[in-house]
C-alpha cells in the first residue's frame, strides 16, 4: 500500500502540490485525474523521487521513501512510466526493455529472460520490432515500450503517467486494457494519472480528482464518474 500524507511540492516559488493526501491500495487501480497543470504528473514524479517534496510523507509498505533517489526507489518495487512515451529513441526496442531489468541482473539473472518474454506476450507488436530503434516506432508502440520497460523490473506498484497522451482512442483502449488485465491477474498495484477522465474512471477502482494541486474529490471510481465536480474541474462549470 502506498500512503501519501499532506504532500507539498514546490518549483521555486510555484506550489505544484498543495497538501495532497491519498492512498493507492494493494492490487487495485487508483486513478488521479484532473485538468492540465493540476499537479498530477508532479505527484508521480515526487513519489518516484524525481522531485523532492517540501513537506509531507510518502510511505510504501510501511516504510518512508521521501528523500530517496529514483534509482533506489525502483529497487523497492515502484516503477514509473513518465509522461510522453519516455523511451530512448536511439536504443533498440530490446535494449529499452532490458534497461529496466539491469539492476536485477545479479540477484535474479534467471528471471530476466522470462520477464522479457512476458513483455513480448503482453505487447506482441514489440516482439516483431525487437531489433528496431525505439525512435522508429509509432506513438502507441512507444507507449507500450515505455510500460514494458517499467514492468520488466517486476514492480509491485506501477506509476503510469498519461498513457493516452497524443494517442488515438483505439490505441488508448488497448493499452489501458492490457494494464487492467495485468492488475487483475498479477495483483499489481497501479496508480494511473490521466487527463482522459472517462477512460481512466472506466477501469479504475478508485478515483482522485486534483485541481490546482489539491485533492477535490477522493471516491470510488464509479461514483466519481457521475459527479458534477468532475466536469467542473475540467471545464469550469
Amino acid at each position: 500500500m502506498l500512503k501519501i500524507e499532506n504532500l507539498v511540492t514546490k518549483f521555486g516559488s510555484v506550489v505544484a502540490l498543495d497538501g495532497v493526501s491519498m492512498t493507492a491500495h494493494e492490487s487495485k487501480i487508483t486513478t488521479v485525474i484532473g485538468a492540465n497543470g493540476a499537479g498530477k504528473s508532479t505527484l508521480l514524479r515526487t513519489i518516484s523521487g524525481l522531485e523532492h517534496p517540501a513537506q509531507g510523507a510518502i510511505t510504501w509498505q510501511g516504510e518512508s521513501i521521501v528523500g530517496r533517489r529514483p534509482e533506489d526507489i525502483v529497487r523497492l518495487g515502484i516503477a514509473h512510466v513518465p509522461e510522453g512515451h519516455a523511451v530512448i529513441s536511439e536504443l533498440s526496442v530490446e535494449e529499452n526493455i532490458s534497461m529496466g531489468s539491469l539492476f536485477r541482473r545479479r540477484k535474479f539473472k534467471s528471471d530476466i529472460a522470462k520477464a522479457m518474454d512476458e513483455m513480448y506476450q503482453l505487447f506482441p507488436r514489440l516482439q516483431e520490432r525487437r531489433k528496431q530503434l525505439a525512435g522508429t516506432l509509432s506513438g502507441g508502440e512507444r507507449q507500450m515500450l515505455a510500460i514494458s520497460r517499467a514492468l520488466v523490473s517486476r514492480p509491485q506498484l506501477l506509476l503510469l503517467d498519461e498513457p493516452s497522451l497524443g494517442l488515438a482512442p483505439l490505441v488508448v483502449e488497448q493499452i489501458i486494457d492490457s494494464v487492467n488485465t495485468l492488475c487483475r491477474t498479477t495483483g499489481l498495484t497501479v496508480l494511473l494519472v490521466e487527463q482522459n477522465a472517462n477512460t481512466a474512471l472506466g477501469v479504475a477502482d478508485h478515483g482522485v480528482l486534483l485541481a490546482l494541486g489539491k485533492v477535490v474529490a477522493d471516491r470510488p471510481a464509479a461514483e466519481l464518474k457521475a459527479d458534477e465536480n468532475l466536469r467542473a474541474a475540467y471545464l469550469g462549470y
Partner: protein, 265 residues
Amino acid sequence: MSESTGLSISHLTVKFGGLTALDDVFLDVAPNTIVGLIGPNGAGKTTIFNSISGLVTPASGEISIHGKKMKWPASHQLAEFGISRTLQGVGLFSGLTVLENVMMGADITSGSNFLKDLFGLSGKAEAKLRRRALDALAWAGALDMAEKMPGQLTYPETKRVSIARALISQPKILLLDEPAAGLGQDDIDKFAALLKQLKQRCAIIIVEHHVDFIGAISDQVYVLNFGKVISSGTFDTVKRDPAVLAAYLGTSAQSGSDALGGDHA
C-alpha cells in the same frame, strides 16, 4: 476577413517529420478582444504560437496582420509587426535586473544604436526607455521589484514582470503562453482583472489549460484537439459542444479518424 481584423490565420498546417501537429487551422482575432485557445495536452496550442512567432516554419497556411497578408514573421521581427509574446517558462533573463528585463522588451525601438552606445551617448534614450519600463512595471503592479534579480522573485511576481516586458513595446497583438500556470486562485483573479484592462489596448491571444480562467475572460474560444480546431465561438456555446466534452473527458465520441498508433505533438 475584414479590414479591422487584428490577426487572422487560415489553413495553417505544421508538420514535424511525419507527424501533423497542426492540420488546416484557422483563427481570427479582432482588435480589443481576448481569444482563448484551449485543448488537452499535445493538441497543438503552443505550436500555433510558435508558428506566429517564427519558431516553427509552417508547411502551409496564410497569416494576415491588421488586415494585410504577410509572410510568416521571423522571431526577431515580431516587434516590428506589433506582436509581443510571453513564454511558457516565463523566459526572464536571469542575469538582468527586473528593470533591465522590462527594458529589453522595447530595446529595438529605443532609437539608440551601437555607435551611440560605444561613445556613451545613449543616455537620453536609456532614460526614456527606463521611464517607459517603470511605467509598464507600475501598470503590472511590480514597481517595487525594479532593482531585484528575477531569481529573487516569487512566481506570480515573475509573471507580472513578463507581462510588463511584453507590454512595454505597446504591441497591437499580445500572445500569452499559459499565463495562469502555477498561479493560485487569488493571483489568477488579479490577473484576470489585469487582462480585462489590457484589452482596451490590444488584441490578446491566450494559450491556457486553466479552462475556468479562459471562460471568465475570453470573448472567443477556440478548442483544439489532435491539431484541429474542433469548436469555436463564445465560451458558453463552446462548452455545450459535445465534441469539446468528449475531448476533455475522453468519451469516445471522437472522430476516430486517426490511424492506429498515430500520434500528435
